[in-house]
């Protein structure tokens, strides 16, 4: 307020600087000018000369300034993070969701899961189709192998039947029984034999070795 007043004062007095002003602000000073007094009339239009800075001085100052700013910034950031951390640990607000948020989260999970299920269902369809094909092929193969086996068995049985029919021509029946007995009696067979040390078989009961 005082400052504004002073500005007004100076503006009004600029025109009549050398003349008398209404307030007659003249002070006798024995020591420093108090802060609340306006600039002295003798110093009013003095422009203080800027200090000349050499190039290296300027760069050095700039370096220091940058260092200082960086350090201050990092300290401030650290403190800010510490506050955030403190707030996080002291309350559970940020992890507790409202019912709507929870529901939305649940719906998101359901959607993700549905996509996953659909993908697996497709893969399973493919797998099942492949398995079905393999099963069909396997059954077909087994059926054919069985047919082949059956045919072979039938063939073997036929062979056996034919063989038996062939054999049956020489069978002894009731009709030719007497004839067969007579033939057998007429041609006695001696199954006895002996073996000498050399391993020669000597057939018959009464046969004598050739040598000796």
């Amino acid at each position: 307020m005082l400052r504004a007043g002073c500005q007004l004062l100076t503006q009004s007095t600029v025109a009549a600087k050398t003349g008398s002003n209404n307030f007659a602000l003249e002070f006798v000073r024995w020591r420093r000018k108090p802060r609340w007094l306006p600039v002295a009339k003798s110093k009013l239009f003095r422009v203080p000369e800027r200090k000349k800075q050499s190039e290296e001085e300027r760069t050095e100052l700039m370096r220091l300034h940058n260092h200082y700013k960086t350090q201050l910034r990092s300290v401030r950031q650290y403190l800010r993070e510490e506050v955030v951390r403190q707030q996080e640990t002291s309350t559970a607000d940020h992890i507790v969701l409202t019912p709507e948020q929870e529901e939305a989260e649940f719906q998101r999970c359901v959607e993700v899961n549905n996509a996953w299920n659909a993908k697996i269902a497709k893969e399973r369809e493919v797998r099942l189709a492949k398995e079905r094909e393999e099963k069909v092929a396997y059954v077909q193969e087994r059926l054919e192998a069985g047919k082949l086996r059956e045919e072979e068995r039938r063939e073997r049985a036929n062979e056996r039947v034919r063989y038996e029919i062939e054999q049956s021509k020489t069978f002894i029946t009731r009709e030719n029984l007497d004839e067969a007995i007579e033939t057998a009696l007429a041609n006695p067979v001696d199954h006895n034999f002996a073996i000498d040390l050399a391993g020669n078989m000597i057939k018959g009961r009464s046969t004598q070795p050739q040598s000796n």
Partner: protein
């Protein structure tokens, strides 16, 4: 069980049980796995039950964990929520890692939630802490510590008035 006996006793070590990634959401009440002991497309589910179900049980003590064997043509996980809804998760011909990853994504708590909860638990649990939302408001509540200066003046050797007094 005796120590380090049986099939893969590693599963019973505290470190392994604590390393489980799946911490179920609060709303999950029952976690059931259906699988068969045979069949190639159940292999991942079998591995999952063998390796990860102990971890899930350990990290979710309030959740009922059920395994249903040889009752299904294709393996699946079914989660029942506290509001009666349920979620069916197909795990047909998926590997153990894929299954656990998907479960963490769908019915598990997120990493941020877990970290925050751990922090919260830590700040509450640590008896050395004092201040707001801790067991004690000030260290002066501990016997043997310096009293709060508001309650009783500090010892003279700590007070500037006496420390810097001219002799």
């Amino acid at each position: 069980m005796p120590f380090m006996k049986g099939r893969e006793p590693l599963r019973r070590t505290l470190k392994y049980l604590n390393a489980g990634k799946l911490v179920l959401k609060e709303r999950v009440r029952i976690f059931s796995v259906s699988y068969n002991t045979y069949g190639n497309h159940h292999a991942g589910a079998r591995d999952f039950v063998f390796w990860n179900v102990p971890q899930i049980q350990f990290r979710n003590p309030d959740v009922q964990v059920v395994t249903l064997k040889n009752m299904t043509p294709s393996p699946f996980v079914r989660c029942f929520f506290e509001d009666g809804r349920d979620m069916m998760i197909d795990i047909d011909s998926k590997s153990q890692e894929e299954i656990i990853e998907h479960l963490v994504n769908v019915v598990g708590k997120t990493r941020e939630e877990l970290v925050a909860e751990a922090r919260l638990a830590e700040s509450k649990d640590n008896p050395a802490n004092f201040g707001y939302s801790c067991e004690r408001h000030c260290i002066c509540e501990i016997a043997g510590q310096v009293y709060c200066p508001g309650t009783e003046p500090l010892p003279k050797e700590m007070r500037g008035k006496f420390k810097f007094a001219q002799k």
